[in-house]
């Protein structure tokens, strides 16, 4: 087995999907920022040129990653995790403000976002912790530590005021779920989130009428043992209390301008200048693409600088407008293939570390692409997280590439683990 080089053993499909996404990204950034006076895609003064440069750097670093011993990342998981926590603390002290949140550290002309590193570090640390031979996931203590690993960086990022990046960490619950934890928590979480949004969108009384009706239906369906009836009643009361407290907190704890912001996100109030305006422009751009788009470099909407983040967080607009539904379909399929391929590969790992790590990055990629695309088409609130491999941004492309290459290395090395 060892006679075959490392390059020969890496999963060629995953590599192809990765390369395809990055190329689509650079072409889209070129289209979004297309400027007649700088038509050269290699022009380093322009965003597309810079992205191309970072792509090169990512490939070099990826290649180096493949050469590093596979055990390195397992062994140094906590070190990297510690480093990311440290940089998150550091950014709170010396960070520079970019669009409202203090989440960047400047090194000369290069700026770096510690929250990017934290995703990588957390995926490694979680995999390392749960992958240890003596870790028993059914123990309460184990679960507590696992949640701790996820939530500490999340809270630090929240403290920077970057709710978007912080929300990414929620997706680790899916990883814990795969490892046998948090099945109930996942369901309770989803139900609570649904109730939370509903009670703000609709009146609390309507939500409660709905709950009572659900209660009646369940009562009708299930076996009406005494225990089940009590349980169901308990759930109903807890749900109603939750709805009430959300309503109370919204109306009495939050300040008017905070209420307005939430109402805008929920679509209860129209925001003609800020978030709502951009979202509407983004939807027009994508919607105007139609079935096959207006053609590469022929988009008109996306060239109007109407969305402040159009080459970063709103890069999907350019694809939607210029390549239409077909282009969007292709990109979403590429992402779906990416995450499904990763979990497929993760399941064939012999080491628990590799498997959990694989799930970790699959979930991160999934969350980013789902939320990012969702926000450009008005399915989820606009939170500033990038589209992996596509959005403009050096440190983001570099970190996403690192995450993937570490997994490629683990997978290529799987046969060496006994």
């Amino acid at each position: 087995m060892r006679s075959k080089g490392i390059i020969g053993k890496i999963d060629i499909w995953l590599l192809i999907i990765y390369l395809a996404l990055v190329v689509v990204g650079i072409l889209s950034i070129y289209a979004a920022a297309f400027n007649e006076s700088h038509p050269d895609i290699y022009d380093l003064t322009q965003n597309y040129g810079k992205q191309l440069l970072f792509f090169g750097i990512s490939l070099v670093i990826g290649f180096i990653t493949l050469l590093i011993d596979a055990k390195f990342f397992n062994a140094f998981a906590y070190v990297l995790y510690g480093l990311s926590l440290f940089s998150l603390l550091l950014v709170l002290v010396i960070g520079s403000k970019i669009s409202g949140s203090t989440s960047w550290i400047q090194f000369g002309s290069f700026s770096f976002q510690p929250s990017e590193l934290a995703k990588f570090g957390t995926a490694l640390a979680l995999a390392h912790f749960l992958g240890k031979i003596d870790t028993d996931p059914s123990k309460f203590k184990t679960q507590l530590i696992a949640y701790g690993i996820v939530f500490v960086p999340m809270l630090l990022i929240l403290a920077q005021g970057d709710a978007g990046s912080a929300s990414v960490f929620i997706i680790f619950l899916l990883v814990l779920y795969r490892e046998g934890m948090g099945g109930k928590i996942l369901i309770i979480g989803i139900v609570a989130a649904t109730l939370f949004i509903l009670s703000l969108c609709v009146s609390k009384w309507h939500v409660m009428i709905g709950l009572v009706m659900l209660f009646a239906i369940f009562l009708f369906i299930i076996e009406r043992t005494k225990k089940n009836v009590w349980l169901l009643t308990g759930i109903l009361i807890a749900a109603c209390a939750f709805v009430f407290s959300v309503d109370f907190a919204f109306n009495h704890v939050l300040k008017p301008h905070q209420q307005t912001r939430i109402n805008i996100i929920l679509g209860k109030e129209k925001d003609t200048k800020g978030v709502g305006y951009n979202l509407n422009q983004s939807m027009i751009a994508i919607g105007s693409g139609g079935f096959s788009g207006k053609g590469y470099l022929n988009g008109t909407m996306t060239k109007y600088n109407f969305v402040p983040e159009q080459h970063t967080d709103f890069i999907f607009c350019t694809i939607g407008e210029e390549n239409g539904f077909l282009g969007c379909f292709a990109v979403i399929m590429l992402y779906l293939a990416l995450v499904l391929r990763i979990i497929h590969l993760a399941e064939r790992q012999r080491s628990t570390f590799s498997r959990i790590y694989g799930y970790g990055i699959a979930c991160i990629f999934f969350f980013h692409f789902a939320i990012n695309i969702g926000m450009t088409i008005g399915l989820v609130p606009v939170i500033g997280i990038p589209l992996p491999f596509l959005s403009y941004g050096g440190s983001s492309l570099l970190m996403f590439s690192m995450m993937l290459f570490v997994f490629l290395k683990q997978d290529a090395n799987r046969m060496n683990i006994l």
């Binding site: 007649e36 795969r178 919607g287 105007s288 109007y304 779906l336 699959a362």
Partner: protein, 607 residues
């Protein structure tokens, strides 16, 4: 492994399903907005949205009696979106616009440099007449459209310095405030600058759907995403347009300035700086050339001499010195000093009068020896440890009149003038100096420099018998409940006994009414005036004629300072001008045509 680990690997299907389900939801939504729902697509694939800035009308400006000073008139800016401006027949287009091919190329280059896709101004301020003709043909030229904009118009050709003007924003101004876009206008001087935020209002945005033929088709989503502009706040100034116009009329052909303040409020009633210009000259497309003409004019008409011209106050400063001597206790209103006329030392007297003189006569006759001796006695008064402490006493009182500092109000760029500090003399004379060394200060010469605005403010403070308000332009905001800066309503109290002010006022009154009064020929019947002449020595040429006054004496409604450069004695020119201004303001008209006629005979040719 003995531990009974449950195998959760079946959960991969749950996770995989979540991934697939979410992707399907995204695709369904995309399918809906891209294929099913036509409303996002607009009427054709090539229509685009055009974001048209709705300029608010800039706030109007009125004088204290509601006479309009600045209003707005419509002009049209020809806008360009370079990325859409394709296949333009340049020759016919240039002919239509009446511009050269070169101009076309420079304008296009400038717009392209700003942005290929964001609209910017191609040609600004096209008049209504030109507009009609061009708009008719504009559909031939995609990427171009008109945007309405207002320009400032001045119904009265007065108060150019006070009103200031607006001009295109510079790069630096755009960087400082992202509200401004290329081609926007911003207040550059005067109240246009100071009240920029209030006057400008807030821009709005109209979104129009434009078809491939560059025709505006309809409002996007029925104007749901449009924002209405918020119009600027109107401003009422303390300025009296009649008085201002009259002042400019009197000063025509002379170099100098007039500042009139309402003592009870600190509002500027008139501020004349001569030579001046008609504010209408700096409007529209001719602004650029006219501006550089004015800038290069050797008479410097753009400079507001009322706030930035500095002069030695001369004898007008004797009021301040007199007040401080009284306050120090070394002299009273009845203290008399001998005067030897032209033989006096170290400062000779330029007027002939009886000797010895007391305060009132000293003011009436502008007697130099009196004020020198009072100053000398104060500097060596036993209540002070040494002359330097006495000097600090003097210095602190002088500066409490608002001298030696710039004013913190809505009058931009006020100059601080100069009141020399103790440290300055220590340095200049190596620490050894006394009253004799700095004797020129006693008669308002030497290092002292004041602006006409400061001098008028001193007149107001004396008129008020011990306090003044920071001089300011604004009276109130018109169409809003916003109130003016509260610091403009704060009294600045001068630490000098009211009684001393009454004594000095009496002396100033006799300047007009006494037999020897230096301004007796400028007396106005039925209006009591208190004033003081001054002649500022000018090493560069003829002396400057200076005068300060207020009236009526007991309840002053106007305090005034007049400086006529290179015009000799204060009594000759500045005093009659001040008296005419006072008469005009209080009586409403002038009953002394002969005085007026004489004042008008002095013009620059004779200087």
């Amino acid at each position: 492994m003995i531990k009974n680990k449950i195998n959760y690997s079946q959960r991969k299907y749950v996770i995989g399903s979540i991934f697939i389900l979410v992707s399907v939801i995204l695709l369904i939504k995309l399918f809906i907005i891209q294929i099913v729902d036509d409303s996002y697509k607009q009427s054709s694939d090539n229509t685009t949205l055009r974001y048209i800035t709705q300029y608010p009308s800039r706030g109007k400006v009125y004088d204290r009696d509601g006479r309009l000073l600045i209003y707005n008139d419509a002009v049209y800016d020809l806008m360009i979106i370079p990325s859409q401006a394709k296949n333009i027949d340049t020759a016919s287009f240039c002919k239509l616009l009446n511009i050269s091919n070169n101009t076309y190329n420079t304008c296009l280059k400038k717009a392209k440099k700003y942005s290929m896709v964001t609209p910017s101004i191609f040609l600004s301020q096209i008049t209504k007449d030109e507009y009609g003709h061009i708009a008719e043909m504009l559909y031939h030229y995609p990427g171009f459209y008109f945007q309405t904009r207002s320009v400032r118009q001045y119904p009265l050709p007065i108060a150019a310095h006070t009103l200031g003007n607006i001009g295109e924003v510079t790069k630096g101004e755009m960087d400082k405030d992202s509200y401004y876009k290329l081609g926007d206008y911003i207040g550059k001087s005067g109240i246009e600058k100071y009240y920029e935020k209030e006057l400008r209002g807030e821009k709005g945005m109209k979104i129009l759907v434009v078809d491939v033929h560059n025709r505006e088709k309809e409002r996007f989503m029925d104007g749901e995403y449009d924002t209405a502009p918020i119009h600027g706040t109107d401003i009422i100034l303390g300025l009296d347009a009649d008085l201002q116009a009259y002042g400019e009329y009197l000063m025509a052909g002379k170099t100098g300035s007039i500042v009139a303040i309402e003592p009870s409020t600190g509002q500027i009633l008139a501020m004349v700086s001569s030579p001046s210009y008609d504010p209408n000259e700096l409007v529209g497309r001719k602004r650029g050339t006219r501006y550089s003409e004015l800038l290069n004019d050797p008479d410097k008409p753009l400079i507001n001499r009322a706030i930035s011209g500095v002069y030695p106050p001369g004898s007008t400063f004797k009021m301040v010195n007199g007040l401080i001597s009284l306050q120090s206790g070394v002299v009273t209103a009845y203290t008399a000093y001998p005067c030897n006329g032209p033989e006096s030392t170290p400062i000779k007297c330029t007027h002939f009068h009886s000797s010895p003189v007391k305060l009132y006569d000293a003011i009436e006759n502008s007697c130099n020896p009196y004020f020198w001796r009072a100053f000398q006695d104060m500097m060596s008064a036993p209540r002070f440890k040494n002359p330097k402490e006495a000097y600090m006493f003097w210095y602190n009182h002088v500066t409490s009149f608002g001298l030696g500092r710039s004013f913190a109000s809505d009058i931009p760029f006020t100059v601080s003038g100069n009141i020399p500090t103790k440290e300055f003399y220590d340095k200049t004379y190596n620490g050894s100096w006394n009253a004799m060394t700095i004797r020129s200060l006693s008669i308002g010469q030497g290092e002292i420099l004041v602006t006409p605005l400061q001098l008028a403010n001193v007149a107001a403070a004396i008129g008020n018998e011990g306090y003044y308000y920071e001089p300011h332009y604004i009276k109130s905001f018109a169409n809003t409940d916003k109130s003016i800066d509260s610091s403009f309503l704060e009294k600045h109290i001068i630490d000098i006994n009211k009684r001393h002010f009454k004594d000095v006022k009496k002396g100033m009154r006799s300047v007009f009414e006494g037999d020897h009064g230096t301004a007796r020929f400028s007396k106005i019947d039925s209006i009591t005036v208190a004033g003081k002449t001054g002649t500022a020595e000018n090493p560069h040429g003829e002396d400057h004629s200076i005068f300060m006054a207020f009236a009526p004496v007991d309840n002053p409604q106007i305090a005034i300072a007049v400086v006529v450069e290179n015009a000799g004695f204060g009594s000759t020119w500045a005093a009659p001008i001040a008296s005419l201004m006072i008469e005009k303001y209080i009586r409403g008209y002038v009953k002394r045509p002969n005085v007026e006629k004489r004042v008008l005979t002095l013009n620059s040719d004779e200087q």
